[in-house]
């Protein structure tokens, strides 16, 4: 049993930390940075950050050197996530391209696809999104109805996608469409590398309950893709989808480390807030609640490390990732809910009037409702755990 990082890993951390201190946006670390709320300006900000990461050699650390990566180990990826969470680094606008599309193309893409897309993903020149969910295919992804019909060397695509992160900024989409209506369910689905900048593609924003806009609906009206833009075989896209998910080998590391960070900030809040001149932490009811949260936050981090150990030993992640996802997302929601309660009636103050900087707790609280839904609802995770890990019989619906 060993919880330490190797000297090499710590050197890697030091290198990254030094780079971040020098390259994060002006005023980022001391909280004086002003990021524009104008959507267009924010998009430029995110693309600039992506570009900066690329220039520093930090955009795609796990990639092979020949594609411009540094062949980081899994543990170095972990360190990378810890450091990014620590400084609350800006969002990675090309996450889908770097962590999903490019590794999949490296594995099963054609030579043409590799040379055409991978470099531009790395530089951030082309931002990618994912075209999976549809209004009637959420938990049940195999129910997608978007159709692609062959027309010479072209495919005519019609349908609607939803929950497309950064779809409004994306240049290309890793899109699932049904190419065979007679095959049921998982069969007959094909993956296309769709050009988003064409008349047949329209994105509309989804405004979330926290007032933010991360997701989009994507309407496909006779959108065009070419044979050369198919990944793997026609009708065999389900396998590609699974392969793509396998590339997220750090699982929900980012969320685990964020939870740990939020817990630590909650401890500070509980010591700072006062009622009748006593810090809230002096209140036995609050203290008990905080010990419970501490215990489970530690538990979820340690569970994650235990699963990570398995991944390191087996070379690939197992179904245990579902357990991490379930526990961390539910606990995050609970912890953030508690953060609102602890502020008393002042907890309802929002945005610039919130009692802590940047409406940190209120915004994270509202956002947390999406975490137990996106990426597979908690109910779906429980089915997966019950069936794949415990071997219980499958639901009758499937």
């Amino acid at each position: 049993m060993d919880f330490s990082f190797t000297t090499k890993e710590e050197e890697f951390r030091h290198e990254l930390r030094t780079w971040l201190e020098e390259n994060l946006p002006e005023g980022w670390l001391d909280g004086t940075s002003k990021v524009s709320k104008n959507e267009g300006e924010y998009a430029i900000f995110l693309r600039n950050w992506q570009r900066k990461l690329y220039e520093g050699g930090w955009a795609a650390i796990a990639w092979p050197e020949k594609y411009g990566g540094r062949e980081a180990t899994l543990m170095e990826e972990i360190v990378y996530q810890q450091e990014m969470v620590r400084v609350k680094a800006p969002a990675l606008v090309n996450y889908v391209g770097i962590h999903m599309v490019a590794p999949t193309l490296m594995q099963i893409g054609t030579e043409e696809q590799k040379s055409k897309y991978i470099q531009k993903i790395l530089t951030g020149e082309e931002v990618w999104c994912q075209g999976y969910s549809e209004p009637n295919a959420g938990s049940d992804l195999s129910a997608i109805q978007t159709s692609a019909v062959k027309d010479g060397d072209r495919w005519i695509i019609n349908g609607q996608k939803v929950w497309t992160s950064f779809g409004h900024l994306a240049d290309r989409c890793f899109l699932l469409a049904r190419t065979n209506r007679f095959d049921k369910k998982h069969k007959g689905i094909t993956v296309f590398l769709l050009d988003m900048n064409q008349p047949g593609v329209e994105t509309r924003p989804i405004i979330q309950m926290d007032g933010q806009h991360d997701f989009n609906e994507v309407y496909l009206n006779d959108a065009i893709a070419y044979d050369a833009e198919i990944v793997g075989e026609v009708d065999e896209g389900w396998k590609v989808t699974i392969a793509l998910l396998m590339h997220e080998r750090t699982g929900i590391g980012g969320q685990v480390f964020t939870l740990e960070q939020q817990f630590n900030e909650l401890v500070s809040l509980t010591k700072e807030l006062k009622e009748d001149d006593q810090p809230l932490m002096a209140n036995p009811l609050v203290r008990k609640e905080m010990i419970d949260l501490y215990t489970r936050t530690r538990g979820s981090l340690l569970n994650y490390y235990r699963n990570l150990t398995k991944t390191l030993k087996n070379g690939h992640p197992g179904a245990e990732g579902s357990m991490d996802k379930l526990m961390v997302s539910e606990l995050t929601k609970e912890l953030l809910s508690q953060s609102i309660s602890l502020q008393g009636h002042q907890g309802v103050l929002w945005k610039e009037d919130a009692i802590t900087a940047n409406s940190y707790w209120q915004d994270n609280y509202l956002y947390s409702f999406g975490q137990t839904i996106g990426g597979g609802t908690s109910e779906i995770q429980k089915n997966t755990i019950g069936e794949r890990i415990l071997g219980l019989p499958k639901d009758m619906g499937r």
Binding site: A143, N283, S341, G370, G397
Partner: protein, 388 residues
């Protein structure tokens, strides 16, 4: 034994329900969020015409002279449609205070205004620091030439711009205990008072900070005994919390209906999701919470109306259960709706935000735990003693 609202009460509910349904239920709240208050104003006028604002006002002042139980249907329906505005505060907090502690002059003026629906009240209690305890009251009230001079800041005043009058908690003598606090009625238009709006996570309710700089008020604007405003207020809070519980029951009922409806029509894996026990049983848990909240709320209002011995614990516990359960089931409702529940477009989030608004509104959760414990004789502390 008859634990139900009577026929007249249920019939009146029907009128209010229909009226608010016709107005598009949460449509008014959504317009209010966008800054359009016209439809709210006309809705409130309509409700006054229905009689909602006069139910619990004495007949002397143009009211119907009815009690807390008669208020329940209206309260529930306002909760159901997340109605913005100060109906709850005005009719369930200020009216009982005026009825019991108001001078004849105050009653003549304010009760008549409320009864005919032309005026509403807000409450200026919290100050920067956010404590509802007596030690949190630092707004200085000095007596000069038979006038009161107010200096200080009030924070998180609900719907300050909508209100015509405020009841302000001020300190009329030195110290930081509950002694020396007085309730003062102030018009929104008082000079030397500035209003600065504050952003509320529940956008169907607005908040504001009021700054008092030598605001001068006639002595006769004090409500109830001088220096004993804290005890006076407790009386109003009993009524307020019984009513709040009913408002929440109305909201909870709507939340359960939303969950049931969606679970019947939304299909995944070739089945309506309500067929899956993960969904079905969660909605059942929500329904159990709703019915328990309802029983506790109805009983609390009965206990208030009948002046029952256990009214303080009944009201505290009804409030505690309702606020807690409302947060729980409105959150669950988002989960049941999945992705769509996370969007601004669907009402789910409005109920969560209202639940959070009520959670520590006019007293913290812990305060009400202590109040219930004291009323039950489980506590030696007098932190929550009710002077009735």
């Amino acid at each position: 034994m008859d634990f139900s609202l009577n026929q007249e009460q249920e019939m009146f509910r029907g009128y209010v329900r229909k009226y608010l349904d016709d107005a598009g239920q949460t449509k008014t709240a959504r317009e209010f969020i966008k800054g359009e208050t016209e439809s709210l104003q006309s809705l409130l006028t309509g409700m006054a015409e229905l009689g909602c604002t006069s139910i619990n006002i004495s007949e002397n002042y143009g009211g119907m002279g009815l009690g807390p139980l008669d208020l329940i249907p209206v309260l529930e329906e306002t909760g159901r449609s997340l109605l913005p505005g100060l109906y709850l505060e005005t009719n369930a907090l200020v009216v009982p205070l005026l009825e019991k502690f108001g001078t004849e002059e105050q009653k003549e003026r304010y009760l008549s205004e409320i009864s005919n629906g032309t005026k509403s009240f807000s409450l200026a209690w919290l100050e920067p620091g956010g404590s509802y305890n007596p030690s949190g009251i630092n707004l200085v009230v000095k007596e000069e030439n038979n006038h009161l001079i107010l200096n200080g800041v009030k924070s998180l005043v609900p719907d300050a711009e909508l209100a015509d009058h405020y009841i302000v908690l001020g300190r009329t003598s030195t110290g930081n205990s509950k002694e020396g606090i007085s309730l003062i009625i102030i018009d929104r238009t008082a000079t030397n008072m500035s209003i600065q709006s504050q952003k509320n996570i529940d956008e169907t309710r607005r908040l504001a900070e009021l700054t008092f700089t030598n605001v001068e008020i006639p002595m006769n604007q004090i409500l109830g005994p001088l220096h004993h405003g804290w005890e006076t207020l407790q009386e109003g809070l009993l009524s307020f919390n019984a009513a709040l519980s009913a408002v929440i029951v109305g909201s909870m009922e709507k939340v359960v209906e939303m969950a049931v409806e969606y679970a019947k029509i939304r299909e995944q894996f070739g089945q309506p999701i309500g067929r899956f026990q993960a969904i079905k049983h969660r909605i059942v848990d929500m329904k159990m919470d709703l019915e328990t909240a309802r029983s506790l709320a109805y009983y609390a209002n009965w206990a208030l109306e009948s002046n029952a011995e256990d009214r303080v614990q009944a009201i505290s516990c009804a409030r505690l259960f309702a606020t807690d359960a409302f947060t729980r089931i409105s959150s669950d409702n988002i989960q049941i709706h999945g992705g769509i529940g996370f969007t601004e477009e669907i009402d789910c989030h409005l109920f969560v935000k209202r639940a959070r608004f009520y959670e520590n509104y006019l007293g913290s959760t812990e305060h009400y735990y202590n109040q219930a414990a004291t009323a039950l004789g489980w506590s030696n502390k007098d932190e929550a003693i009710i002077s009735v």
